[in-house]
């Protein structure tokens, strides 16, 4: 099966969407620089504290960066639903094939953004301390990117279908930012010490914790990600089963919402979205 031009253009559209570029690269890049060059300047360079700190920065910024791609997926799907319907009937490919290419495109773009964020963290950390830090477990790290990617993709799709179904096109822009707002919740375990394990059952949070684990090789504490090692606090570790299963559960739930709505929803006229 050869891949169509749709896949290529979808990757291009998602990765170069202005929301994704601003929030996913500019905003996150700015905070990576600020966190690692300014706020982390008093941490010794060759220490576990520095590795945990960079891991926390990476996990948080990765989640925000991929959530910004979720906004991109949301808008593209909201915009393209009518075209997808027409093409799946009177074009070469059926809807299953087009959605499969959609999923592949979303995973490719999330891997691209995830890798870009990783390279950014490694380079800025090196500039800050002169020490190269590499992820402890690249496999786990990329697993977390895929889990995050699928969650933001399906959440973007589900939200766009809900907007169309509930005639909320005039609030489309505000609703898109719900994905980003959700990702910003990952600042809570960075700054709050006492958190229940079930915090990591929220969408995106579990996969964010897995990203921390993949980067540092250590299971993250439930809270105080930014400073627990330096402060000598004893904080319980995150339950990675909760993280993994909640991530999978959210992917399944968002998928089921999409499945339930996709054939029952009429596309929003494109003028309403552009306006």
């Amino acid at each position: 099966m050869t891949l169509s031009r749709y896949l290529v253009y979808k990757i291009k559209s998602a990765a170069l969407n202005r929301h994704a570029l601003f929030w996913g690269i500019l905003f996150c890049g700015f905070w990576v620089v600020l966190d690692l060059l300014v706020f982390g300047s008093n941490i010794p360079p060759i220490s576990q504290a520095w590795i945990y700190y960079v891991g926390a920065v990476y996990a948080t910024m990765l989640t925000i960066s991929l959530a910004s791609l979720g906004i991109s997926f949301y808008f593209i799907f909201l915009y393209g639903l009518a075209g997808l319907r027409y093409v799946s009937k009177f074009g070469k490919y059926d809807v299953k094939r087009l959605l499969l290419e959609d999923v592949i495109a979303s995973i490719v773009s999330t891997l691209f953004y995830g890798t870009l964020m990783l390279i950014m963290c490694i380079i800025v950390a090196y500039v800050s301390k002169g020490v190269l830090i590499f992820p402890a477990n690249l496999g786990v790290l990329y697993l977390s990117i895929v889990l995050l990617g699928l969650q933001v993709y399906l959440l973007g799709l589900a939200l766009s279908l809900l907007v169309a179904k509930l005639n909320l096109a005039r609030h489309a822009r505000f609703i898109s930012f719900l994905i980003l707002m959700l990702a910003f919740l990952l600042f809570i375990p960075g700054n709050v010490e006492k958190l229940p394990q079930y915090f990591y059952a929220l969408p995106l949070m579990g996969a964010g914790a897995i990203a921390y684990w993949g980067f540092t090789g250590q299971v993250p504490p439930v809270g105080a990600w930014w400073y627990f090692y330096r402060s000598g606090l004893t904080i319980p570790k995150v339950d990675l089963w909760i993280c993994t299963w909640s991530s999978i559960m959210w992917i399944v739930l968002f998928y089921l919402i999409c499945l339930a709505l996709i054939n029952r929803t009429n596309p929003v006229p494109v003028e309403e979205i552009v306006r």
């Binding site: 031009r5 253009y9 009937k89 074009g91 490919y93 552009v274």
Partner: protein
Amino acid sequence: MTILTDDECGRSGSSEEGLTGLSNSKIFKDFEHVIQSMPIEINNLHVRLKNEHILKGVNMRIERKTLLLGPNGSGKTTLIKAVLGIINIDDGDIIIDGRSIKVIKKWIHVMSTNLIDAYSILPEDIKSIVKLYEDLLDLDVGTFNELVEMFNIRDVLSKTFYEISTGQKKLTALSLALAARGRYMVLDEPFEDVDPGRKKKVLDLILSTDSIVMLSTHELWMIKLFRDWDCYIMFSGRAYGPIRVSDLLEARLVRGHHDDALLTIDVAGEKISIVKGTDKGVPLSELSSMEKMFEVLYEAPVAR
């Protein structure tokens, strides 16, 4: 700014002739594959959008070139979206070439359209959309290039649909519809917002295509150019017809029900009859647009 090259479109489709010398038959050389098609049958179609009952039991049979006349808001675009499979049908069915729209998939060269929504699959520039649809619909990029040259709208290619004027949008979408080479061509208001100079070119292209065209419009000034076409009139989500355009041109509008009426239409709760062979009433050919039908309610004599 250059138009898509042969390399970019992956095929050799450009003509050595200038567009001024290009005959319509040349543009439509690829339409030789067009075969005798079965009609589009629309049976008791009901569509609700945003809790509003838009189409209220539409019945139509499109077997030849057909005009769809109706004022703004009568449901023409909704009907077109339903025929293209873009929106869901609440009740009834649309049968295209013997197949229900609900089960149609992967059916290329059957249906083409100038409806922008059909080409809004990704928010990319028009040049990219053309390349994308070359792959998705087997769109003939050579024909598209020729039409873009003919309309002199080359500068739209680097822009998205929402960065160009409404007239340019209509011409670009018409070029896409013609390049898609569908056996049926559904055109939504193709003359609207097009400048008078280009309207003639649009008209010539539409008249010369071999596809079965279903053309919606609320403008009446040009219907005399479609004398041998069929026509349906849409009002408040209902379709009335078919009637020959040539008959329509000779008919007059009278208020109320008339026994010899070609059609009796329900307009805002009152009946208007389209009657041929009477010297009373308002000649339909004198109305500039379908919106004027509402004025007939106050001006036309009552049928006896």
